[in-house]
Each structure stands twice: as structure tokens, then as C-alpha cells.
């Protein structure tokens, strides 16, 4: 199984990200070369406005790369049709869903849309996968609740279950811990760690919870002043990457505890 674990799910080749208009290109980060392996939990870290969202949008084909390429399962992202991409990549977004009248089961079942027929009938196989996703995220007892009855933490678990039901090699989450209390932040990230191990899926999330990410992730992608570093958390600490993350006037990284401290 060791060789299978080394299988690379997503890879970027000299990727430049940013925005292009007719007149000019605004490059936000360039020369991004990362490789994410199967069954890994990866955290994406960086200050506000540094380009985390832009990177995620480029990796998920919401916007085009300025240069270079993104490969999923060795196939260029630009060669994926929307319905094929939906079978290898699922998302958990920051936006709230508006249809709160859906039951938890119905919402998770929508993850099966890429596989169902023209009217969306669920096969026995679909039901098995949905129930497994509910089980893996510990929300069996919420199955028939309506979404407006759920707390933010429960809702986030439901959205993760929906992504699991989509049955993709890669799950990308955009700041899954915002709006959550400290306990639920840890709970959600711990759950993601468990899911990556159990299901052998690659799970990439962006977050501002740097200390939690250092403790839980297999790999961290850190975006600092126009540069992207991708390595194991302890190696990144050794290299002193976290000290370059923010301006130094207010907070400093404490290597012993792996967390930030306010300057006294």
C-alpha cells in the first residue's frame, strides 16, 4: 500500500496565479510547484489578501492560471469537462446555502448529482454511499433534521458529508473553521484528519488556525510575500517560515509551542 500512498493527486507546474484583464495582468503569486499525495491532509496558510483564495480558485478551475498548469491525476485541469471534474474534485465553500428547508439527508444526497440519471433518482449504491458519508461525519442522528435547525458546527459537518458523498479523490475546503468556536474548530480539523486517513482521499483546506494546522496536517502550504513553500509542518518550523508570515510588530512565532504569541 505504500506505493499507492505515494500516488500524486494534484500537482502544479510553474503556476502563476492572479487576475488578467484585457489591458494588464496582475500576478499575485508565481512559480508555484506543489505536489499533494493521496490520503494526505494539507493546510493552506497565509495572511489575509496574500492569495489563498486565488490559489484555491485556480486549483478548482473557477479561474484560469496566468501561466503554468494544474494537473489532477496527471491530466491538465483545462482538459476536464465540468461533469468529469465533479467526479474527482468536490468543494466545501464559505458561502451559506440559501435553501435551508432541505433536510440533511436531501442535502448530502445532492452530492450524488454527478452520478444520478436525468431526474436525479438515487440507486441503492447511491444510498449506501450517502449513509456512509453521514456515518463518517457522525451526523446519523441529524439525518431527518432541516438545515435551519442546525448549529454552524453541525452545518459544516453536513457540508463535509455532502463533499464525501460526491466520492472524489480530492476535497477542497475554503476556510472550513470560520464562525466556529475553539472546540468545533479543533473538532472539524480533527475530523478532516480522520477522513483523510480512513478514506485515503486528499483533503486540502485553507485556514487561519495556524497552530491547529501545524498539529494536524501532513503537509502545509504556506504563502508568504509572493513565495509559496510546501513541506511537512516540523520542517517548516525548522526553516523559520512562520516568522516571515506576518509583519513582526505585533506577533511572533514561538517555535517551542508551535503557536503565535503577542509581543509584550
Amino acid at each position: 500500500m505504500d506505493t499507492k500512498n505515494q500516488h500524486i493527486i494534484i500537482k502544479t507546474k510553474d503556476l502563476s496565479i492572479g487576475y488578467a484583464s484585457k489591458k494588464a495582468q496582475t500576478v499575485i503569486v508565481s512559480n508555484i510547484n506543489i505536489e499533494l499525495k493521496k490520503g494526505e491532509l494539507i493546510g493552506l496558510i497565509g495572511a489575509n489578501g496574500i492569495g489563498k483564495s486565488t490559489l484555491l480558485r485556480t486549483l478548482t478551475k473557477v479561474q484560469k492560471p496566468l501561466q503554468g498548469d494544474v494537473l489532477i491525476n496527471s491530466k491538465s485541469l483545462s482538459n476536464y469537462q465540468a461533469e468529469d471534474l465533479a467526479k474527482v474534485l468536490s468543494l466545501v465553500l464559505t458561502e451559506q446555502i440559501t435553501a435551508k428547508n432541505l433536510s440533511v439527508f436531501e442535502l448530502v444526497a445532492l452530492g450524488r448529482q454527478p452520478y444520478t440519471n436525468w431526474i436525479g433518482n438515487l440507486s441503492q449504491n447511491d444510498l449506501t454511499i450517502i449513509n456512509k458519508a453521514l456515518n463518517q461525519t457522525n451526523i446519523d442522528d441529524l439525518k431527518y433534521k432541516k438545515c435551519f435547525e442546525l448549529s454552524d458546527g453541525q452545518l459544516q459537518k453536513v457540508m463535509i458529508a455532502r463533499a464525501l458523498a460526491q466520492d472524489t479523490d480530492l476535497i477542497i475546503l475554503d476556510e472550513p473553521t470560520t464562525h466556529l468556536d475553539m472546540y468545533h474548530k479543533a473538532y472539524i480539523l480533527k475530523l478532516l484528519q480522520k477522513l483523510a486517513k480512513e478514506t485515503n482521499k486528499t483533503i486540502l483546506f485553507s485556514s487561519h488556525e495556524i497552530d491547529l494546522a501545524i498539529q494536524l496536517c501532513d503537509t502545509l502550504i504556506v504563502i508568504t510575500n509572493n513565495k509559496v513553500v510546501c513541506d511537512e509542518p516540523c520542517k517548516l518550523i525548522e526553516k523559520g517560515v512562520f516568522n516571515t508570515l506576518f509583519p513582526k510588530d505585533l506577533i511572533a512565532f514561538d517555535e517551542k509551542t508551535g503557536s503565535f504569541r503577542v509581543n509584550k
Partner: protein, 344 residues
């Protein structure tokens, strides 16, 4: 959704039964009193004791009842499609400018006939002239909205553009009204009241054909509509082609609401209220349940409203447009107050 099929069978059976009952009540009521037994006789093809009754039922009340079913269900379904597409509880079948387009067409024919000259006018103010003008008007406005919508990424912008087109057409109608004669104005206002009773079997047949096509498009949009419940970004990540789905949904709405408006006038309220009524009763967001439920509710409400507007055993017929709002609005208010919460 295996476990859900069971729970929804009973309400559907009850609603279907109510629909059938309303259908018969609708046919047996009218300005002329016809005994219930004779109504049944006529429907199953037997002779009635008075020949006039046979004629009234078969050539007047029966097509009117079918029209009511088509109008109620068609407007209800197009309202549902628009509310989900725009994620807006205030959307209805006419947000894309269908009724304003139709009213512009009709206003041009009725009010503008003075401008075009006499012979031309009499030719156009026939029944088919009005239908043609209404269809052409709504088609042209829709076409403009659709052309713009193909270039637009944001679905909400389409909503605003539809409203802008409605404002433009309303302004043109105002100008035409200002120059119109009192008689022309009355004729235009009467068209605006809506009417279910003027259709012959031939006209009903054409209405039904286009309506059926619209229903087929609606059924094919059930899956995209369910996906769109998650919002467009999630829908895209599930592999949904947003622009294509949007087009199918808009085509379905225009076929349904467009022809209904052309044949029966701009019938208000039903398209907006029926989907809300249905959601309150069925308490689900799945369009596989909502679509047939809206069909049944729309047909029932329209049959009831038509029966009321006839004022049984009198010679008066109230405008159907007034009745739908007078009867329907209190019901929706009552439902919302009773449940204390809007389900959307």
C-alpha cells in the same frame, strides 16, 4: 429518496381527489342552473333533457374548466421555476417581462389601432389578433432578456433586466393610453382582467400543445433546479452547466407563462402564491415533490376561483384576476401567520 415516497403518497392522492371534485363542481356551476344529474349525463355522452344544456356544458363550461387547469398549473409551475432560479421568494412567472411584453403587444393593437387606420384595426382586433399580438409581444421582450442573459454571468442581473424591460413597456403603454379613446381604453382594461371562458376547442388545443411542451421542459429541469438549491457555485462544482440549465428553465417558463398570457390575459397572483402555498403544505425543497404538487394546487385554486367568479345562478362574471387575489392572498397570509415562519 425511498423513505420519502411513502410519506408523500397520501397528500398526492387527496389532492388529486380534490382536483377531480373541483372539476365537477366547476362544470356544474354557472349562470344557468343545470341539475347535477344532467351534468353527468352530458359528460358521459348521454343526451340531456334540454339541448341547450348539452351545448353549454360541452362548448362552454368544459373548455373553460380545462383552461382553468392549464392556467393554474402552468402559472404555478413557472412561478416555482423562477423562484428557485433566482433564489427569490418574490419572483413569479412574469419577472422576465412576459406579461409586460404581452400587454405591450395588446396595447399596440387595441390602443394603437387608431394610428394604423380603420381596416387594419378591425382585422387585428379579432380574437386571434389579440392572441397573436400578445404572443409576439412577450416573445420579443423575452428574446431581448434572453440575449442579454446569455452574456451575463450573474443570474440576479437578469432579474433586474426583466424589471427594466417591464418599466419600459409600461411606459409605452401609458403613452398609448393617453392618446387612446375611452372605448379602446375599456377594451384594453378588460383584456387586463384576464378571462378563462373565451376559448373554443381549437384554441384550447393549441394552448394545450404549447403548455405540454413547457411541462416537458419543466420536468427536465427538476434535477438542475435541485442542484441550484445549493447556490450557483456549488451547482457548478457538481458539474452543472449553469448557462444551459438556466436557458432550459427560462424556455420552460416562457412557453408556459407566455401562451397562457396570450390566451387568458395577464392572470396575476397565482404564479407567485401557489409555490408558497405548496411549500407550506408539503414542507420540502425537493422539486421532484414540489413540481407535481404545484401542478395540483394551481389547478385546484384556479378551478375554485373560476367557480367563485361566475357567481352561481347570476348573470354576472367578476374579473378572474380580482378573484385570484381576493381569495388567494388571505389564504397565503393565514398560512404564513399560522406557521410563524416562511419556508423557502
Amino acid at each position: 429518496m425511498q423513505n420519502q415516497k411513502k410519506t408523500y403518497t397520501n397528500p398526492f392522492l387527496v389532492l388529486s381527489a380534490i382536483l377531480v371534485i373541483c372539476f365537477f363542481i366547476n362544470i356544474s356551476l354557472g349562470s344557468v342552473y343545470i341539475p347535477l344529474k344532467e351534468v353527468f349525463n352530458s359528460l358521459i355522452g348521454h343526451e340531456t333533457s334540454q339541448e341547450a344544456w348539452q351545448h353549454i356544458i360541452q362548448n362552454y363550461r368544459l373548455p373553460k374548466a380545462f383552461t382553468a387547469i392549464i392556467v393554474g398549473s402552468g402559472l404555478g409551475i413557472s412561478g416555482l421555476l423562477m423562484q428557485t432560479l433566482f433564489r427569490n421568494p418574490l419572483a413569479g412567472p412574469f419577472v422576465l417581462g412576459i406579461s409586460s411584453g404581452a400587454s405591450l403587444g395588446v396595447a399596440l393593437v387595441i390602443l394603437g389601432s387608431g394610428l394604423f387606420g380603420g381596416i387594419f384595426a378591425t382585422l387585428f382586433i379579432s380574437k386571434w389578433g389579440i392572441v397573436l399580438a400578445a404572443s409576439l409581444g412577450s416573445f420579443l421582450v423575452l428574446l431581448s432578456v434572453m440575449m442579454v442573459s446569455l452574456k451575463i454571468r450573474d443570474t440576479m442581473a437578469i432579474l433586474i433586466i426583466g424589471l427594466m424591460f417591464a418599466s419600459i413597456t409600461a411606459a409605452i403603454v401609458s403613452v398609448l393610453s393617453y392618446f387612446g379613446s375611452a372605448q379602446q381604453l375599456q377594451q384594453y382594461i378588460f383584456w387586463g382582467f384576464g378571462s378563462l371562458g373565451n376559448l373554443s376547442w381549437d384554441e384550447l388545443f393549441i394552448l394545450f400543445l404549447i403548455y405540454a411542451l413547457g411541462i416537458v421542459f419543466s420536468i427536465f429541469s427538476i434535477k438542475p433546479l435541485n442542484t441550484l438549491l445549493l447556490g450557483e457555485n456549488y451547482a457548478k462544482s457538481l458539474g452543472l452547466n449553469i448557462k444551459k440549465s438556466r436557458l432550459i428553465i427560462i424556455i420552460a417558463t416562457s412557453l408556459l407563462a407566455g401562451t397562457i398570457t396570450a390566451f387568458a390575459g395577464p392572470i396575476a397572483f397565482i404564479g407567485l402564491a401557489i409555490p408558497h402555498l405548496t411549500r407550506q403544505v408539503f414542507n420540502t425543497a425537493s422539486h421532484k415533490v414540489l413540481l407535481p404538487a404545484v401542478f395540483l394546487f394551481g389547478a385546484i385554486v384556479m378551478l375554485v376561483c373560476d367557480s367563485i367568479s361566475q357567481i352561481p345562478n347570476s348573470d354576472y362574471t367578476l374579473p378572474i384576476n380580482a378573484i385570484t387575489s381576493l381569495v388567494g392572498a388571505p389564504v397565503v397570509i393565514w398560512l404564513l401567520v399560522r406557521k410563524q415562519k416562511m419556508v423557502f
